[in-house]
Symmetry: C2
Amino acid sequence: MIVAPPNFRLSGSRFQVVYRVQASATDIEARVRSMALEQTVEFPEDLLPSGPFREQMPGHVESLSPLEGDWYRAVLSYPDEAAGHDILQFLNVVFGNTSLQPGVRVEDFTVPQGVATGPRLGVPGVRAALGVPGRPLASTALKPLGLPVGELALQAYQTALGGLDVIKDDHGLADQTLAPFQQRVERCAEAVAAANRETGLRSVYAPNITSDPATVLSRARFAQDAGAGAVLVSPGLAGWGVLSALASDPGFRLPIIAHPAFTGSFVSAGPGGMDHGLFYGTLPRALGADITIFPNYGGRFSFSRDECLAIARRSTEPRGSLAPSFPSPGGGMTLDRIPELKAAYGNDFVALVGGGLHREARTLVEASRLFVAALAKPVPEPSPQVVE
Amino acid sequence: MIVAPPNFRLSGSRFQVVYRVQASATDIEARVRSMALEQTVEFPEDLLPSGPFREQMPGHVESLSPLEGDWYRAVLSYPDEAAGHDILQFLNVVFGNTSLQPGVRVEDFTVPQGVATGPRLGVPGVRAALGVPGRPLASTALKPLGLPVGELALQAYQTALGGLDVIKDDHGLADQTLAPFQQRVERCAEAVAAANRETGLRSVYAPNITSDPATVLSRARFAQDAGAGAVLVSPGLAGWGVLSALASDPGFRLPIIAHPAFTGSFVSAGPGGMDHGLFYGTLPRALGADITIFPNYGGRFSFSRDECLAIARRSTEPRGSLAPSFPSPGGGMTLDRIPELKAAYGNDFVALVGGGLHREARTLVEASRLFVAALAKPVPEPSPQVVE
């Protein structure tokens, strides 16, 4: 009943997605074939028009190889035209409906031409903007939620005076009457600017712009106009298109920091879901995050050291024309762990110490100085044997 | 080091979240206490100012009771001020950072005043708009991806002529050059209007508006202006704020259909994640979805019958001032299952038959007529003994 469009022909460019798929040996071929249809035409194969349409429009199973137990590694390719230069539709093809099926985990993907340009600044651009060429960057969060703007701005001033590079809102600061967005952004940006005049440094304040589509881009512009030096957004709440919309906006120039709020299920949906390194490294990087926050091992969260190192590797490894982005491990971190973090992550990461920073010295200024000094201190070359 | 704001005092209104939490008997109290802090102040408790701030700002553990094994049911309450009339910040308090921790599943929540108004139309409003007072609604999807606009519009015409109520884009139709958004919306809306003139019915076309925050709201308005009768959006891609932004937009009046693409990990992240009924029923309903699509049991997906019935119950059960929304089970459905679906879901659901509809008769018009007739046919009162 479906009529093939006359002269149907696609470009031939296809992007690839690597899945882990669970099925019996007898079922696996039908299983991955059904995924190839599900993620594109979502239509019974025998009802598709024969010829070029049926050959080119669905996914192709490029390779299939057994892993442990009843798991297989399947590489599927999809026509670039299915994504249509739209990052959300790209994600939909990668894992839209298959996210609703059991036993499918996304391990890797290539991104079609024109869908995502990656970080505008990336590691080199952020380093240049902040004037920090070598060491890991130091970051903290303004909190607790409930403090008025004046107290948050005071923290911003103190931590900037102590030399922290990136001073971000706690991701729970939205537009509550406790500390309204516009007032908070203006005061905290001013506070950091005042500290910078004293220190000669280029510390930045990064307000949380997470909000609905009617508001999020205007908050980003307000932040830029008010003198903020970066923005923080939780794409799992605000939508994955926020990152690429900001990264490709010619009128926007600030570094973008992605926060993982509300996304944990994507990686913990084991044996399904998405690979840690892909989800917190490759994905936000491809979409345009300059810095991607994730819960570090050994803190209040549950990611393993290997999962965290995979996130860092995926954030910085060579990948087509994408600039590297900064991995930013945080969550229950303390200054005494910095040598270990440097040994694990090298120099290209943003160390995030939040509430715990308040314990590290008598004043927040002093604690911030200790933090930066610890990051600046050379550590012995990382040696896998001694790091654990 | 943190100074309490002078005269700090909250309203006393708090919203509740019900969690399942995994911990040993000796750890559970500390575990839920740490969640109460994590989701609000995200700060060491002993560093908070004592007095009203420390008493009121963090979560409270309202109740804690043992479940099977090492699982507990914990009811936490959070101050309404923490959510600050922002649906995304509400979700962040519910499951922002705890989504990144193991052994936490969200089972239910209450929504603070002013955060979400629910469906604008809901079941009664959609029924009135479509002129279908009693039976379940009939819905299909225009596909496969790859067809040109003319072929999709022809399907829209044929299915509307056959009397289907809701004719939606397949959720993979975005703005691909294969069938560009604006041209598709205009042509498909015209096609459904032409059919309506013949049938005297009020079938609606629902284009997929899923896109980034710079585009999604303008696509919704374009759809409305072009004569579309509803819109389809995937909030897991476009962001959860899209639903509430559209539902509260005084200039927007169309029914909103939520699609579950890219969200499966939220419910399959067992034993963590979120409850099926809460995630696909309560949540989209609270945010403003008039119709919420989910994968039906016994199709191409893996949800159980109980999980699906819980979604339907949560979509329609009395809940404060929220209008009921239509649950819309779909995915691999066929017409021979309609008596069973009616017995399971009653009359207030939207039956979604997609690609399979093309198999049900020689023409799509005739298949659509059979679909509506099957839904209109009375079935015996549901009896749990015979339904399975």
